[in-house]
Point group: none
Chain length 413, copies 2
């Protein structure tokens, strides 16, 4: 079964709202083994919609539409579908009764617009909307299925989850689709690709490998299609195994796991705690760690020491050290980690000090020079990063690299 | 000028990522008066892409593409465009030199994949990518324009802002076009709209007003087109003046200025310093402030007190206070501000403590209950926020609201 998703609405075309419906629908359909051939956003225009439907059904046997089902004049989806499937509109009493009850509860008067909304296509199955007034419409003709839903995310999701996905599952084709993502950090797309080139070249023909680069990390996504789910899962496990064996040091998780989650798991399993001391990252490492629900279990806090005075006062960095080596130095970040372990009373710590830029260059220390230290009492490692001139990128990269260094340290320890 | 946006990538079609590029691009193109006829997501497949290009140019004279420009095997955009525009690939020395320098800085070896990436279409204008290795490609043939950019949002945005939008503006607009953005914070889109309804209704016919809502803030963008630049600027100043007079309390800046920049300006003009103490925001306030270049001039640091122990030890919060009122209380954030002013030796401070969620509910304190305090020695204000259940959203909203409260405090003082 090949599917099209058509999202209707000028508000998307003018960039007023981000189309989050499509991603949610695509994920759900993929889980049923229904491949999305294309996602389109079309304006609230009857002719455009009809043209989009014609083009879609050239390749797809299923078209899911969202939007344009409201009571206002710019909601023309039902007119387009009525024309496309060559049927007509008729007043639908049960829907009108539902709307009356629905609005009675909300103490909102029912208007002519709502009456107009109850003129619905006769040649389709109407699916009651548990969260709103506009029912979904299921058209089926000569093996082609079109399902129109409201664009309001929670209405669409309720209709999909309770009614439409189960109906589609029943029809869902013989054939399975599997995805597995492998999360890597610390190296770029090309480095990862280089290391698994031989695996990529020998992938079974029913497999696809995609590289999704982020700042300081890369997601590898394997997709496979086949008949037998069990055999497919076995083949997937094999390929995942091959990749994991080829680049063990780069990999920190699976299927969308975050670096800060991986660290959280490691710390919880050890029953240990951590803290941070940040200069140039200015709290971004702390933000990443605390963006994970439940992080207070293992994360105690951070000292954002943006001035030397605070490095000395709160982190017990020696004035001599700052004097002799500067704030951006291996010696300073080492003392910052020691200070964090001591002051916050944590088991592990990360410290960072660098020149995020665009200014702040010092002799022998160009913009993008960053020192990070990480470890535990009596066992502190350091690493120097030489990054670019983009302040925010430097902050984000330093955060990812530092978290990844601590993760590797926790694994080794 | 009619445009198509084509986003390339299976990761969108399987719902792994939400397509945020399209909304950003659509917003920017609309500002130039370029209407988006359709937004499509197409798979990493050469034939699909060619078919999509053919269909797009049936109605559009401009097609903007993102994605599929990386060095890996699943990046086939340049091959599709080369075929569509009937040209060929050739090794592009300057791009290779750039990549060599680019990676030399990062001490990353240049691989064959990078060489492969430098085989680029001969019949197009290459636009250097300031944030990455893959250049943008500008094709122009028989009045049809296709521009291909990387899919990585910050690379796409940098290329659009610096190179592509100006080039398109020159082509799209006969006459002059002016934009002015007014940045507001602290109230929602509908509240802002309500307050300037009368101005919006009486806008000159050559003016357009757009509301761009963000988390906790709203950008008002005025766009005007006309023949005479001077007259246009005069009319623009008038409308901006009207709006600023109508909602002075909501406005903190112009043309993309950030709340944290506005605070920086105020502190610099006063020659004063500030610090923060964060619990539930976990460093995000500090991150925002330090994301501004030169912030070390007025920002000294922060204490991320994620545990009560650290609130007591580093911020001198009384154990009794935590005992009696809890960590999420007006009394606690007040003492956190006092502690910050004292410990960090700063003139102004913000403190935050709350339940970011999704867990952590306490009797009388549902998820989303957040207290923020701000001020200076002897003059500390507090505010309670009652937000939702989304952890990250709560962190971001609390940050925006707290920064805005301090901004208003600095203005008043």
């Amino acid at each position: 079964m090949k599917a099209y998703i058509i999202n209707i609405g000028d508000e998307i075309l003018i960039g007023q709202i981000v189309n989050t419906n499509a991603a949610w629908m695509a994920k759900e359909l993929n889980a049923l083994g229904i491949a999305i051939h294309r996602i389109e956003t079309v304006s609230d225009d009857k002719q455009d919609m009809i043209q989009a439907l014609e083009a879609a059904f050239q390749v797809a046997d299923l078209v899911l539409l969202t939007g344009g089902l409201g009571p206002t004049k710019d909601d023309v989806t039902k007119h387009a579908l009525t024309a496309f499937f060559d049927t007509e509109l008729a007043f639908h009493e049960p829907t009108y009764k539902r709307i009356e009850q629905f609005f009675a509860l909300k103490k909102i008067p029912v208007t002519d617009l709502h009456r107009l909304q109850c003129f619905l296509p006769v040649d389709c199955t109407l699916i009651t909307n548990p969260k709103g007034s506009a029912p979904a419409m299921w058209f089926e003709k000569e093996g082609k299925i079109a399902v129109a839903m409201p664009g309001v995310p929670y209405e669409m999701k309720a209709l999909m989850t309770r009614e439409i996905l189960p109906k589609l599952a029943a029809k869902a084709i013989q054939g399975e689709i599997l995805h597995h993502s492998i999360e890597t950090a610390g190296v770029g797309e090309t480095t990862v690709a280089k290391h698994i080139e031989h695996i990529e070249e020998n992938l079974p023909s029913n497999f696809k490998l995609a590289f999704l680069p982020h700042l300081g990390s890369v997601t590898l996504r394997l997709s496979a299609t086949g008949e037998d789910k069990v055999a497919l899962q076995k083949a997937m496990d094999e390929q995942v195994g091959l990749i994991k064996a080829a680049i063990p040091d780069f990999i920190y998780g699976d299927n969308g796991e975050k670096l800060e989650e991986a660290i959280g798991k490691l710390l919880k399993s050890k029953g240990k705690t951590m803290g941070t001391a940040e200069s140039c990252t200015g709290g971004f490492i702390s933000h990443k760690i605390t963006s994970i629900a439940g992080s207070s279990e293992y994360y105690k806090g951070s000292i954002i020491a943006y001035s030397n005075g605070i490095k000395i006062k709160m982190l017990d960095v020696q004035a001599d050290t700052l004097e002799q080596y500067g704030a951006v130095s291996e010696q300073t970040v080492r003392e910052m980690v020691e200070g964090t372990l001591e002051t916050l009373g944590v088991d592990y710590a990360i410290a960072v000090s660098g020149i995020a830029g665009p200014g702040g260059e010092r002799p022998g220390k160009p913009v993008g020079t960053i020192w990070t230290a990480f470890g535990e009492k009596g066992n502190i490692r350091t690493r120097k990063l030489q990054l670019g001139r983009d302040r925010l990128k430097n902050i984000q990269l330093t955060t990812t690299y530092s978290l990844n260094e601590l993760r590797k340290f926790l694994l080794a320890g």
